[in-house]
Symmetry: C2
């Protein structure tokens, strides 16, 4: 055991930074009082108690900077468990489960072990769910007794962001004030997943206020990127993304109000799907201020393949979630419609810059790579796509995020003696600054401006006459954990418009193309991001792009993504 770590240690200069499995949360609790420390202790104890005992790493073992290899190197998983967690996507696993090739209980144990290791490496979990083992056994018994799977997700372990309630368990949403908050009912997404036969087994970390594109809070601390633990996993659904990157879950559910699914997906080399609002029920997904809906967030899946997005959507729609949650459209997410046929050839716009922050070399290279591969595809017409006032879009959406100016979040933090983290302070300040700069001092004026922008963007898109866009998700690869230059522009604009988007992995950034010699920052934002960029740290880190379609055009989006992946001859699964 020790020897595996020693060999990893030898190649990793950051090895001393994360020296033990609770180091990350300890680090963040340094800034708070003892009394806070006492208050969060039960949450940390629940987590510790629910982890898989057979996958606890040796005390004081030293972890490398890149922890991707730790599960394999640890020797704690059997070959079969390594195969089950690494080789298959969710679609393959549900087929194997339905055919009895693997039992749900065995599969769950494999993922519980791997998730426990992922937790120790990246601080991605808030707990494993004890009940899951019973649920998995029930699936196996059902199949044994009836010869039939319980549903289209029979026996599949699924992880969810912590904000998603689980009956009888605590849901704190990253707020110390809510650390004792027991929720009495399952969130609707959990109910649907269970109806489909899935085994909800893990809950994952999120940032204070949920409004950060990184993941850090004063209960569990920061979740880090498994490929370089000095970098962020992204956020707000960073726990899910880090867990999936480490093959600690085959399917995860997160939330996205400004990039919170797509950013961590892109920074971790996996798929993340932000559907339009009205597709997936958010009932029972707790938020700081219920009823604050000028900009609604939505839940969506993380997957290891494009076909898993279809698997999830098709299965979820079978539960008729719109009957219980009437805010949803009463139709399958991917239902085709004559009104929703993509053109032939598929017309794809390429957005290479939003004219606010031009992407840095890793993302520029990815965009060029995609263009080069799609250029000659006979069924694709590539066209440039000009952004339409994306700087204004950020001002608008940030002005609209907090109808109360952030009062509810501040109050929650005050109640919990929960110091506002810098990234929380930043987004609340953005809101105020944006409202002032727009001189839109009523909620209604801000919403009216929002609506006008949506209509103007539709006109702009119609003029370009594209089916979908390919666009950056982030300006570069994963920033440092302590980065102070968040940039939401590439994702939040689509939340403002409610245009669905799939973040998909392009691969690891290749060496020798990372320098900034051609990059001339034109504004403060570009300067800040360029200043933090370290070419060596980008090396090998995942780059993701997103495919974007018109609002509620998910069927077009998924079909276009399929055509794009076919044209790029990408294999199913992640590239790293």
């Amino acid at each position: 055991m020790e020897s595996a770590y020693l060999s990893l240690k030898a190649v990793n200069p950051y090895i001393r930074r994360l020296s033990a499995r609770v180091s990350i949360s300890e680090r963040s609790t340094i800034i708070v009082t003892m009394s806070l420390s006492e208050r969060i202790r039960p949450a940390l104890e629940i987590r510790a108690q629910t982890l898989e005992p057979s996958a606890v790493l040796p005390k004081d073992c030293l972890l490398p900077r890149n922890v991707m290899g730790v599960p394999r190197a640890s020797g704690l998983l059997s070959d079969r468990e390594l195969e089950l967690t690494e080789k298959y996507d969710a679609t393959a696993l549900v087929n194997m489960l339905a055919e009895g090739v693997v039992t749900s209980e065995a599969l769950l144990l494999a993922f519980r072990k791997r998730a426990t290791i992922a937790q120790q490496c990246t601080n991605c979990l808030t707990e494993l769910i004890p009940q899951a083992t019973n649920d998995a056994r029930a699936c196996d018994e059902f199949l044994a007794n009836t010869g039939k799977p319980m549903g289209p997700l029979h026996g599949l372990p699924v992880s969810v962001k912590e904000q998603i309630s689980i009956a009888g368990r605590r849901t704190n949403v990253g707020f110390v004030a809510m650390v004792d908050n027991v929720t009495s009912e399952d969130a609707q997404i959990v109910t649907s997943l269970k109806r489909l036969g899935a085994v909800v087994f893990a809950r994952t970390n999120q940032p204070q206020s949920l409004m950060q594109l990184q993941t850090n809070n004063n209960i569990y601390g920061a979740t880090v990127n498994p490929r370089n633990t000095s970098l962020t996993a992204g956020g707000s659904t960073g726990g899910e993304a880090a867990l999936m990157a480490m093959h600690g879950t085959p399917l995860g559910i997160g939330g996205d109000i400004g990039g919170s699914i797509r950013v961590p997906a892109a920074l971790n080399g996996i798929y993340g799907f932000y559907p339009s609002v009205g597709r997936i029920s958010g009932e029972g997904a707790l938020v700081p201020l219920p009823g604050n809906d000028s900009i609604p967030g939505t839940l969506g899946p993380f997957t290891r393949s494009l076909r898993d997005i279809s698997l999830f959507c098709t299965a979820y729609s079978l539960t008729n979630p719109w009957l219980d949650d009437p805010s949803l459209l009463p139709m399958p997410i991917l239902s085709p419609s004559p009104a929703l046929s993509p053109t032939n050839p598929l017309r794809i716009g390429i957005l290479t810059t939003d004219n606010v922050v031009t992407p840095l070399p890793p993302v520029q290279c990815a965009l060029k790579q995609v263009q080069a591969r799609l250029h000659h595809a006979p069924n694709i017409a590539l066209v440039p796509f000009q952004p339409y006032k994306h700087d204004y879009a950020w001002t608008l959406i940030s002005a609209n995020y907090f109808e109360d100016g952030g009062a509810a979040i501040k109050e929650l933090c005050k109640t919990g003696s929960d110091p506002l983290l810098p990234a929380t302070e930043w987004i609340l300040a953005q809101c105020k600054q944006s409202i002032d700069s727009l001189s839109l001092h009523t909620i209604q004026a801000r919403k009216a401006a929002r609506d006008a922008y949506r209509v103007a963007y539709a006109k702009h898109w119609n003029k370009a006459a594209v089916d979908v866009l390919i666009a950056p998700v982030t300006p570069s690869t994963a920033p440092r954990v302590d980065s102070r230059v968040p940039y939401w522009g590439y994702t939040a604009v689509w939340n403002l418009l409610q245009y669905p988007a799939i973040a998909f992995p392009i691969g690891g950034f290749k060496s020798g193309r990372g320098d900034l010699s051609d990059y001339q920052p034109r504004n403060e934002k570009e300067e800040g991001i360029a200043r933090e960029y370290v070419a060596e740290e980008a090396e090998g880190m995942p780059v993701g792009l997103q495919i974007v379609a018109r609002r509620l055009h998910e069927s077009v989006l998924v079909e276009a993504a399929r055509v794009i992946e076919d044209a790029m001859r990408l294999e199913i699964g992640c590239r790293l």
Copy 2:
């Protein structure tokens, strides 16, 4: 000419109450200052100038209380014009137009004449649109040149509520402050109608603030019910409904945020369709406070037959309105879906009371009549349906109507020296009272309560497992013009839930069943409504009911309405 009126006069005791064609607006302007009178004069002059000159009634002619017969009795319309305006629904007319059986220009003239007479009888118009004649000629030329109709509504005259902008014309939304407000672009619904070949020819009256279930403002005054001009036409789209009742338009577009399409439809014996929000574009339909969307209104059609609702929806969806207005669902309004199949037999709930205001005899009789007719239909299962906290629903929706507490409306009225009318004051007071009684003093708390009610109602509906409901629209037949006991409960609950509904005519209330001997008022609201009820005035007045479906289940709604009408052996067209 005069003799016709004399004969009508002989049977009508109310004949002196409305003695000349501008009397109604004059009556309401009595309460305002001369300076107001000067400010509104241009609007009244525009109306007077755009009416059809060949259909102006003789000066000082006396009108009967029931003016339904005036168009025919006036002698101003030819037999052909009477036939064209009375005998056909829009579906029949578009077929005749496409086949060249009638020209658009001739049909337009017939409706212009009849609308002009309707205006003089009920004060339903704000103007006729001069450009319509050119548009009709263009249709005729197109057909003559190409042999093809311009679109599925080729040549059909269509009227719209005044709040719906017309390029280059004034749109005042019933506010004196906006009397000079010229709108530069057509509303999207107008653009769509024109693309379909329709001829938008008339604009109709609405109440101050749009928030009344009657129709009165300080510019044009009150619109009255053509079957009894001492009674209201309902509102807020009362102008449309009175116009259609008098066969002055074959298809009209109104707006509904609390009953504003369904109430005037029911009180005038026609069809009114309130679709779920997200179906018909409201872009360019002006409102007092843009961005005030806790409870959004929507546009919808008035028709003379059920099939005309399908005609409108199918045609409108062909214009792909969702491409220009991304707030809409990108799919045809009536697109069927496996998720939206009604059960067989069709399961219909009957809501006989909301447990707040039990309907008075006219509506009770209509409900009994429907139940008796549907009881034995083999393809229908009738079940009682219990209301779910409809009193609370009214408190919630009224608390949510005005995010700013009505400040924008008050400010507009102040700017225009536009005295707040009692019905405007009433609804603003309801808002304040409801907020206080709920103790929900933030917008977000009110919206959260709204969302929770929606989820609770879905559960309630699912338990009853009905496809649609049949329910009252109003507690009784049309109230007096000066009624002070508005009741929104039967319609507004479905706006709160965004459940689509079709108001349909049951027929005129029959004599001898109108007394209140069995009606024991249980609360203030029932007492007020019972106190105003006059059995003799209800006699012969239209009664409407509504069919209600789950949110966005328009295809189920229209299919159910067809089954219900078939079962009731109703002929197509209005019953009166």
